[in-house]
């Protein structure tokens, strides 16, 4: 069990420190710590997108009305974790890197609004779909779940891709006091600190093919994880046998798309900055250099990728499959694949920000790019929030305890008939 103090020691010894050294909670350390926390929340969020993934394939995986109900009732017991992690991810980002919050959310307006819109639809769909009095009909809410199941991962994946591909914005903190009528002409005449440099407000990201590649990779990853989760969580032979076949259709495009993006990432120029001056510049093979400089991230990434592949393989080639090779435990692929997803995404997100890298690059004005240094909260706030974050292990502990209590017995058709609360 890794304690917080050991984690701090580990991070302080492992980080490529170039700023303040020392054993205390330096500003430099806190910036990296909060980047780690936000990246971890982001990684857990991507894992929890199995809810969306399963919903997006509910029609074919469930096949019958009752089969679909089993899937919706299975994901319906987990959807709040995904939702809560998304909200906490946003809150943690706001608290630790407020300039990202104001620039990305205020700039890539349509991208984030679309994401939120689909999650709003999802939030009511479970509770409402099969209730008497739902005059829109169950199909409407099942459609909402499918829509969220596809658009949610696609747009969130696309948003993650912008950490590497860049976005079209300009930041000028002096703008707030730049209104000529107020200051007698001082400043540039604009009041808003962060501007999007084109009129599409975030939708332009979807014109970048590499953003789409990572976006669709996340869609198929979510589907892969969703199928693995359902195979584990629902005790139904029909669904499980269909799952091992459907898994191939989701896993193969995921592996191809993710592999392509990983190669692209390692070969592309990246956004670096000089920690002494804050000046941002392009560096060839920046992300490859990051992984080589921070070897522990490379190790985490490789372990993560292997675990995901292993989790997929033991289901496709498991004893239950017509391609049987492994003699592994049945339907346990979600665990290695889930842990592998968290490790892989964590490594990639940290690769986008640590080692003097601009994590939210601007394609409109290089020097507007956001770095951990120029966009983070004050040292006092980060330190205060550090102490709050010590609660996280307790939160994780009760989530795991409650989750195990609910999942001790797998969901069956019989339980749906007898349960006092179903969707």
């Amino acid at each position: 069990m890794i304690t917080h103090s050991s984690l701090i020691s580990l991070l302080q010894t492992a980080l490529p420190l170039e700023g303040e050294q020392g054993g205390g909670l330096s500003y430099f350390f806190l910036q990296h710590y909060w980047c780690f926390v936000v990246a971890l929340l982001g990684a857990i969020l991507v894992f929890l997108l199995f809810v969306q993934g399963a919903n997006s394939v509910a029609g074919s995986l469930g096949y019958t009305e009752q089969g679909r109900r089993l899937i919706y009732n299975s994901t319906g017991r987990k959807w709040e974790f995904t939702f809560t992690t998304l909200v906490t991810f946003g809150g943690a980002f706001f608290a630790s890197y407020p300039l990202f919050y104001s620039t990305s959310f205020g700039g890539a307006y349509w991208l984030w609004m679309l994401i939120l819109f689909t999650f709003v639809l999802q939030a009511v769909s479970y509770e409402f779909q099969n209730k008497l009095g739902n005059f829109l009909g169950p199909k409407t809410f099942q459609f909402f779940l499918t829509l969220n199941g596809i658009l949610g991962p696609l747009l969130l994946g696309g948003a993650v891709a912008t950490f590497f591909e860049g976005s079209n914005f300009i930041v000028e903190k002096g703008n707030l006091i730049g209104l000529p009528s107020l200051t007698g002409g001082v400043g540039g005449g604009s009041l808003v600190i962060s501007h999007w440099a084109n009129a599409s407000h975030g939708l332009d990201a979807l014109l970048n093919p590499w953003v789409l590649v990572l976006g669709f990779a996340v869609v198929f990853l979510a589907r892969t994880l969703g199928i693995l989760y359902i195979m584990n969580n629902v005790d139904d032979e029909d669904i499980r046998s269909r799952g091992s076949v459907r898994l191939i259709g989701a896993a193969v495009p995921f592996v191809i798309l993710f592999g392509a993006y990983l190669v692209h990432l390692l070969l592309k120029d990246g956004y670096a900055y000089d920690p002494a001056t804050g000046v941002i510049f392009m560096e060839p093979y920046k992300y490859l250099h990051n992984l080589l400089d921070m070897w522990y991230l490379l190790v985490i990434l490789l372990i993560g990728v292997l675990l995901v592949l292993y989790g997929i393989a033991i289901e496709i080639f498991g004893p239950n499959s017509q391609f049987s090779i492994f003699n592994s435990q049945l339907n346990k692929g979600i665990w290695p694949a889930g842990i592998g997803t968290v490790l892989t995404v964590l490594a990639l997100l940290l690769c986008s920000a640590w080692n003097n890298t601009a994590y939210y690059p601007s394609t409109a004005d290089l020097q507007s790019s956001l770095t951990m240094q120029n966009s983070c909260s004050s040292e006092f706030t980060l330190r205060t929030m550090f102490y709050v974050s010590l609660l996280v292990p307790f939160v994780l502990a009760y989530i795991i305890y409650a989750w195990r209590a609910i999942d001790r017995k797998k969901l069956t058709r019989e339980e749906l008939e007898s349960s006092s609360h179903t969707y």
Binding site: G106, Y109, V124, L132, A405
Partner: protein, 543 residues
């Protein structure tokens, strides 16, 4: 075409996609989403408490009746809870999408409560609400009871942190401005988290939410009694006193915490108090208006200062400047605006001097001007002192609606408890004792509650919501034009988004939330009509 139509709507401010019209839409959208969200939160907090009490009765007695009763109210809780979750996510992200400048200018302070809310409260809610619904047959009675209470506690803690954040906007403390980073930075977390404004606001808001839950339970129970629903009669008769006790306690405490809140508002937001009272020219020994022309002598002074002869400034006093009772002089609006402009100009000069590597004495002299005028920084963005006056009519009437209904609820719950206490005829319980069914007519069918009282309970459900929303109207309209009191007006807080974009999302959310509200109400009514009957399985079918 749609955008053209939307931008042409006369919402006020500049038209045609300019910054001011985007401000209007951003405000309208935040108001819309906040009002919708607040339709669901009070019932979550109030019904959550009452259903937890009912499950506690099940835990202590082992009586299956209480389990069935708790499950019934939890089913209604779930329908409402889903909408609360759906409407809540937008609010957090709207700070970034619509109020980009705000997010940077105070994100160092404001982001922390939102993050803590997620870590501490949301996970608690989302984890234990799942156990509450799906754990009846899977966990022990004690664990289930704890989960139900923790679901309510999570919602309450969530309310605490979001009200801490809101209170900080009304009364910014524990921070200082950093001219190098161009933002306010936290200097004391304790001052932010335990601000007296936050404590008063939380107590008043959370407790008043219990009233909504209590009215809802009494009304639903009353409907069963009016309809002589035999299957739900015992549940109704036993739910009413529990809800009425919670309601009476909450109504009285809401009055007390409201009085405390009024004093805090008088101290730190005198303009809001003046607008609430439509008080243009203040003074000592001020009366509280019931409506224009009818007032309770000395009551406003007492409400604001705890002293019947206390001084309460009016709108004109605040604009012209006045002397507080402790002798401190409150500058006029014009002076504040001049000092705000001086702070902004000095800040621009400071940044220019630093960028050019100017002499330290020049930098320090500008810094000195910034610091001395910083309390009025936000006034530098105000062009006309008339902008400093919040909408008086809305504040005046919303305050009266809130207080009026609050007083009515005290009376209502007292009368309900009186009739419950007065109950002279025994109400047999055929279903549980196996006795012969009695004809359920008149007072026997309704317990001892007269029909008019039960109809009144049903009529009071929308009143409880109107009362609760009115409180927020007072809080939010009353602080206009500020997003952060004296520090940043709404006009300087927005994102660089065209008005058509914000208008489009406004209409989208209006359509979505209204449709979902209609579905939610219909489902809720059907669930109430069905009562405690088992949940039927959805229609079976092939692919």
């Amino acid at each position: 075409m749609l955008s053209l139509l939307l931008t042409s709507l006369p919402l006020g401010g500049e038209q045609g996609g300019g910054l001011l019209s985007a401000i209007d839409w951003a405000r309208a959208q935040f108001a819309l989403t906040a009002i919708y969200h607040w339709l669901f939160v009070p019932l979550t907090l109030g019904l959550g408490l009452i259903m937890s009490i009912m499950e506690t009765k099940y835990y202590r007695t082992g009586d299956a009746f209480w389990r069935k009763t708790a499950q019934f109210w939890q089913r209604l809780f779930g329908i409402n809870f889903a909408m609360g979750v759906a409407t809540g996510i937008i609010l957090e992200f709207e700070f970034g999408t619509n109020w980009s400048n705000y997010s940077w200018f105070v994100g160092d302070i404001f982001g922390a409560p939102l993050a803590i809310e997620g870590i501490v409260a949301f996970f608690m809610e989302s984890t234990f609400v799942a156990v509450m619904y799906f754990g009846w047959e899977k966990v022990s009675r004690g664990f289930h009871l704890a989960s139900t209470w923790l679901t309510w506690l999570g919602a309450t803690i969530s309310a605490w942190w979001i009200l801490v954040a809101n209170s900080w906007m009304q009364y910014p403390v524990g921070c200082e401005f950093n001219p190098d980073t161009m933002r306010n930075e936290m200097t004391s977390f304790a001052d932010v988290a335990l601000s007296p404004f936050a404590i008063d606001k939380f107590c008043h808001t959370a407790i008043s939410s219990w009233i909504v839950g209590a009215v809802f339970v009494v009304a639903v129970s009353g409907w069963y009694l009016l309809k002589r629903r035999e299957a739900e009669r015992e549940m109704a008769l036993k739910s009413i006193p529990i809800a009425a006790i919670v309601g009476l306690l909450a109504s009285v405490l809401a009055g007390a915490t409201g009085h405390k809140s009024a004093q805090t508002v008088a101290a730190v937001q005198p303009m809001k108090l003046a607008a609430m009272e439509a008080l243009y020219d203040g003074g000592t020994a001020q009366g509280l208006k019931i409506v224009e022309g009818i007032e309770v002598p000395y009551a406003l002074s007492f409400m604001a200062t705890n002293d019947f002869n206390g001084f309460v400034p009016g709108i004109n006093d605040i604009l012209k400047g006045y002397t507080r009772e402790d002798g401190t002089v409150e500058p006029s609006a014009q002076e504040k605006m001049e000092r705000g402009r001086a702070a902004i100009a000095a800040l621009a000069a400071y940044r220019k001097a630093k960028a050019e590597g100017a002499d330290a004495s020049i930098v320090n002299s500008q810094l000195s001007i910034i610091n001395s005028n910083m309390p009025y920084f936000g006034y530098g963005f105000i062009k006309d002192e008339a902008e400093l006056v919040p909408p008086v009519a809305v504040n005046f009437w919303a305050f009266r609606v809130m207080v009026g209904f609050g007083g009515l609820f005290i009376l209502f719950f007292a009368v309900i408890l009186f009739f419950d206490w007065r109950k002279k005829r025994p109400t047999p319980n055929p279903s549980r004792e196996g006795g012969e069914l009695l004809p359920i007519t008149g007072e026997v069918g309704r317990g001892s509650f007269p029909a008019w009282l039960l109809w009144l309970a049903i009529l009071l459900v929308p009143c409880a919501y109107i009362c609760s929303e009115s409180g927020w109207l007072v809080a939010e309209f009353g602080r206009q034009p500020w997003t952060i009191q004296d520090m940043l007006p709404v006009g300087a807080s927005v994102s660089d988004i065209g008005s058509s974009a914000v208008a489009t999302t406004f209409w989208l959310f209006l359509a979505l939330f209204t449709t979902m509200l209609a579905v939610e109400i219909n489902i809720m009514l059907k669930q109430i009509k069905r009562g405690t009957a088992p949940h039927p399985a959805p229609p079976q079918g092939g692919k």
